[in-house]
Symmetry: C2
Subunit: 384 residues, 2 copies
């Protein structure tokens, strides 16, 4: 089973589950976010990437980690370092941006790091949306770009709403299927708020990420129900029997999550010129010499082109206040998309960015071989 091979090692740190859908705590260290960003940049540059490529990776991974999106944060650094080393990722790409139509931008990532092409695409999309009210940004010949929400958030921080998605190699089965066909195909949507943090949705169209399966193998605990199938297509809670993830919605309603995965796969392949997920080489398999050739797709909205800016801001504020003020089950609160991440950002800004022990060790080894300085540890963390 492919699941056995991928990402082995990165899920090996001791992890305490706080809540199924939320952040994890782990054994490791804490460093200042800015120091981590510099460190990651120096490592990626050490692996041969251009200055701007390395800066884009470091910015994206640190941004995700600071918001506790650890699965797509700093712990992915070794993956990119290996991809650069193996030649799968071009270290010094020529990113080409072409305006195909008044409101359509195509970005050719030139097999470089997806983070650089994605930031560039967002910036180009913002300019086009400023003129036209809306812009589509189709990115092709790209590679893994970390958390897709990083880029819609970048737009929101500049006052633009954004919808984003990416395809990926197959790890999620279609509804009623028996083997992987879709990537976890995330959808992200961000809307700026006049005061406070943006609204930020960033979700896989599967119920859980692959990493959760690997984690449960390490901890020897069952998976939640209806998140994975075995090799015969039957739902399984045994992490060792899991052969593929299933789409959001599980046994009864997985056709909905699968439908969303289809939308993502289409927009990121047929619209970008790339292949759909099932035809992509594996992101994390043994062979990292093939270019990944991923597609990403963004839509940028100039909110002021739709409604007067103040009216729009008032509506968003009203919506967020109404949602957050909803009565909740005992011990819970109703949150807007992104709220747990803003809480994490505040905490990590104050106390430092935690890096799990396994990642810390691996990064240290890379640092030694590239001659990079390791950031100061300001605290150690424990899952126990």
């Amino acid at each position: 089973m492919q699941l056995l091979k991928v990402f082995s090692g990165t899920a090996g740190s001791a992890v305490k589950k706080i809540k199924e859908e939320e952040m994890e705590e782990f054994d490791g260290v804490r460093c200042r976010g800015e120091a981590v960003e510099s460190f990651v940049k120096s490592l990626v540059a050490g692996a041969g990437a251009s200055e701007e490529s390395a800066a884009a990776v470091a910015r994206a991974l640190t941004d995700a980690s600071m918001r506790a999106v650890d699965t797509h944060g700093v712990r992915l650094t070794p993956h990119y370092l290996r991809g650069l080393k193996a030649g799968r990722i071009k270290p010094n790409p020529t990113v080409r941006i072409e305006r195909l139509s008044p409101a359509v931008v195509h970005v050719d990532a030139d097999d470089g790091l997806g983070h650089l092409a994605s930031y560039r695409g967002i910036e180009a999309g913002i300019e086009v949306a400023r003129e036209n009210g809306i812009a589509a940004v189709a990115i092709g010949r790209s590679t893994h770009h970390g958390a897709t929400g990083v880029y819609t958030l970048t737009a929101a921080r500049q006052g633009f709403a954004a919808l984003g998605m990416t395809n990926a190699d197959a790890i999620v089965a279609p509804h009623d299927g028996v083997k992987a066909f879709f990537g976890t195909n995330p959808i992200t949507f961000a809307v700026p708020a006049e005061s406070g943090n943006p609204l930020l949705l960033d979700m896989a169209t599967s119920s859980i990420p692959l990493n959760r399966v690997l984690l449960r193998r390490d901890t020897g605990t069952d998976l939640p129900p209806e998140v994975a199938i075995d090799g015969k297509g039957e739902m399984t809670v045994d992490p060792f029997a899991a052969a593929a993830l299933v789409p959001l919605g599980g046994a009864n309603y997985g056709y909905k999550g699968a439908g969303l995965a289809v939308m993502v796969d289409m927009l990121c392949s047929a619209f970008t010129g790339m292949l759909h997920g099932a035809r992509l080489p594996s992101f994390a398999g043994d062979d990292v010499t093939w270019p990944a050739r991923l597609g990403h797709f963004f839509i940028i909205f100039d909110t002021g082109a739709f409604q007067p800016r103040q009216a729009f801001a008032n509506r968003v504020a009203e919506f967020l206040a109404d949602l957050r003020g909803q009565p909740a089950r005992p011990g819970e609160s109703v949150k807007a998309p992104g709220d747990p991440e803003w809480a994490a950002l505040a905490e990590r800004t104050a106390n430092g960015l935690p890096i799990d022990a396994a990642t810390w060790k691996t990064l240290g080894e890379f640092a030694q071989s590239y001659g990079c300085a390791v950031p100061d540890v300001i605290a150690t963390t424990s899952a126990h």
Copy 2:
């Protein structure tokens, strides 16, 4: 509980469940689709609606019913007739289409039937997408428009891809919430295929529609797990205890369905100038004198602006063939979004459009009072 009031009567026909997520069979009659469309048009015109308003409703409801989207098909006719009679829906609206930005269209539905504004919006969006590659269509001051997929499908039938959504009054609780806040806030996505039917996703962001709860009350059977909560926010399978639906994803992953509902609510309110779902008057409560003031949101894509037309068509064909060819669990097959509907369309084109007995009776009463001819019954149907 609000759930007790809405749509009472329409779920009263005997229904045989074929499969949780699929179509239902019911006691009633079958008539030719074209005859049903003419009938619905004459009824809506009989209730005072303009020729073009009546034609739009009849076209939308018949299109949905022919594809077995019965919850949003002909059985909704009485709802619109009552809305027109009560003054909630303006019978002869002046739909205003304004281009706010090169690629952004606003449609003011003038409190008329949402079907008319939505068809008009799609047509305007296609023209704008032809120029710009992509177009946003924000529709405000609208009313219920039936199945949102009807309109994205209309675009796909003209060779354009489309994303669509609508908000609605509150019936779905936020994740961890205890009372309704979102509408079922559907998302639809359609992509034209060079040969054969388009790819068509059309899904509520809740697991089940409200109608399913009412049905289970009639049949005295339990709900599926994790689709509804009681008045305290606890999951319930008792259809009589159900106080609100929950978002797609259920107890563990409902925050994802809720996140999608947030996206829909935002795009259909802040971007259209309307209020979000929880502030809307009830769609189907006792008071039908208030204007609904719904918002709909569409994005139209000229696929030829992204990739050469033939390359795009090849990618779509390749994707659909790969997906449909996936190995499936015993007795199942892997389907593309829309496939069950195309099968239904073929069957209903051959054998006629089924109308449940309760709806047929109600429509007959309206026909009598408006002096409309009733279509020929070509068969009777039975759930048993």
